[in-house]
Symmetry: C2
Subunit: 328 residues, 2 copies
């Protein structure tokens, strides 16, 4: 099966652009709804950070380091590199007796407007703390100090990444078809859209009890408790978690992947826009959160992420975004 | 016929994302090559600015105002709002006895890094001169003063836009299926991919002589003579026109449209990436310029726009971009 149209852009009453993709809603009894090819193999990219954080808790490393719920949320983040994110990662590393130089994520300019302006206008280069994955890497460093591994913790054969791969294959229920190197240099394991949705359903159904269930439940709860730590102001993940008020933990990934964990209904959602267009993955997850009953279609975030009316530089209506027929 | 895969993104030896679209190469004897649906109706957006500039010359307005070849290039531009663009439009308006307030394009932050930094760090709001379409609008104002029309020159029934529509339908060889309001508030008329390619072939074959042929030849020559005025440093249009050294006038349009005018071979090219992804439209036009023999596949711009090797924040190879099988 091929990807199917999910999101449309209209102008002057005519269809101008179309985004196609794959999406799966996975419930307690399996696949409840699917669009495109549920067996399509994708790279989850940053959408699987809560899976990559499972060993951090299961190993006892998080407890040994006394990590807070706020830090657990940050370990699942693709943050904006705002001051609060940079400071939180710096404090975390200091607590481990480590520093920015111990990170292996690389540096890039932050998305946060204020911090970006501060660096730009002072001709200051960003550091690894600004990398949107620095919280995940602080989690890797915390796990690594517990496991006693070497400093190159992003290597495929490093104990940290072996633990991540094992957890990833177990919660997706698949043997990974392969891996790619992510923007932050960590291995990113491939799975099917269904496997990713199955993993999210595991997080949604997890309750305190077994080791993995406890870890999964704590991570989902941490994401919902600190939505500003998982992304940042004006970001889709933060807006959607605030709008759903504890009913959904959501996470975006590069190249237009988006996932959602719905604890109340014990459902997991995973989607990938084939062309990598983020505007479409944000609109598609919004539509599925409404479909699953955890987001009020009248909430302002819906018009922000699925703009039925789009305006130009002078405020004139030019068109709008719509769900493709049969989607949502 | 549906859009077909044109550009692929690979990671870890696996296909991660795909961009589909429509493309047509139109020669002296008609369609020479096509991918996707040659009859697909699209909005050319800014890719048709050289068509919108035809009445400026044909009416005698450009001659009456003594426009330079550099100004004609600017009338076809989606410029970066760099200092040289802003100054050139300001001087043009002053020459008409007009000012920024006479423009109807609206304001947005410039893409040019230096000018953007200057405005950001001085907390200065952009003005309409920064709008990427301000050169086209200066052309509209020049034509309007010659025609004696009202101040709202972007209205559909205004003499300026009536002249633009007539020229558009004549060079595309089609009755427009409709129009949309563009980001700059001007009407943007719909046509088929083949119609847009036919129009570009008209520009490619045009030589000094008839009124319209002379206007088309002068605009294509102006674009190639002043590539930095048509877009800006680090922009695909400017890079590709410099790389093809007078063998191609190329122009991008919003939502991933790209066109090319090849005077030597009298060919016109038009393409649209269905999802609106600019990275793919830039790669696709690059591939077709190579196919048509006007761009050396070994030129550095090719690796810049079709990066066979993509690296992450630490410089590690993560994957690369490829042409889809059967394209290019």
């Amino acid at each position: 099966m091929a990807a199917v149209p999910l999101i449309e852009l209209w102008r002057g009453g005519m269809l101008e652009s179309v985004h196609s993709g794959h999406a799966v809603v996975f419930g307690p009894d399996g696949v409840e709804a699917a669009w495109g090819d549920p067996a399509a193999v994708i790279f989850p990219r940053s959408s699987c950070k809560m899976i990559q954080a499972l060993p951090l808790i299961e190993s006892g490393a998080a407890a040994a380091a006394g990590l807070s719920e706020r830090q657990l949320a940050l370990s699942c983040a693709s943050h904006s590199g705002a001051h609060l994110h940079v400071q939180a990662v710096a404090d975390w590393l200091a607590g481990l007796g480590m520093a920015e130089a111990d990170l292996r994520c690389g540096s890039h300019m932050p998305q946060d407007r204020d911090e970006n302006k501060r660096l730009t206008c002072s001709d200051t280069a960003p550091c690894q703390l600004h990398n949107n994955c620095s919280g995940k890497h602080a989690g890797f460093l915390t796990l690594n100090r517990h496991l006693g591994g070497g400093t190159e913790y992003v290597a495929l054969d490093h104990p940290v990444q072996k633990a991540v791969k094992a957890a990833f294959e177990e919660v997706t229920g698949e043997v990974s078809a392969g891996f790619g190197i992510d923007g932050c240099s960590a291995p990113n394991f491939a799975c099917t859209i269904t496997g990713l949705a199955r993993a999210m359903q595991f997080f949604a159904a997890a309750r305190e009890g077994g080791l993995r269930e406890t870890a999964a439940a704590r991570l989902a709860r941490a994401m919902m408790a600190f939505p500003e730590m998982v992304a940042g102001e004006e970001r889709a993940c933060t807006r959607l978690m605030r709008a759903t008020g504890g009913k959904a933990a959501v996470k975006t990934g590069a190249e237009a992947v988006f996932v959602a964990i719905l604890p109340e209904t014990r459902q997991g959602i995973a989607l990938k826009i084939l062309d990598g267009g983020t505007r479409a993955s944000e609109a598609a997850i919004t539509a599925l959160l409404i479909r699953c009953g955890v987001l009020d279609p009248a909430h302002p975030v819906v018009e922000q992420l699925i703009p039925s009316v789009q305006r130009n530089w002078r405020g004139f209506e030019t068109g709008g975004m719509r769900l493709a027929p049969g989607f949502g």
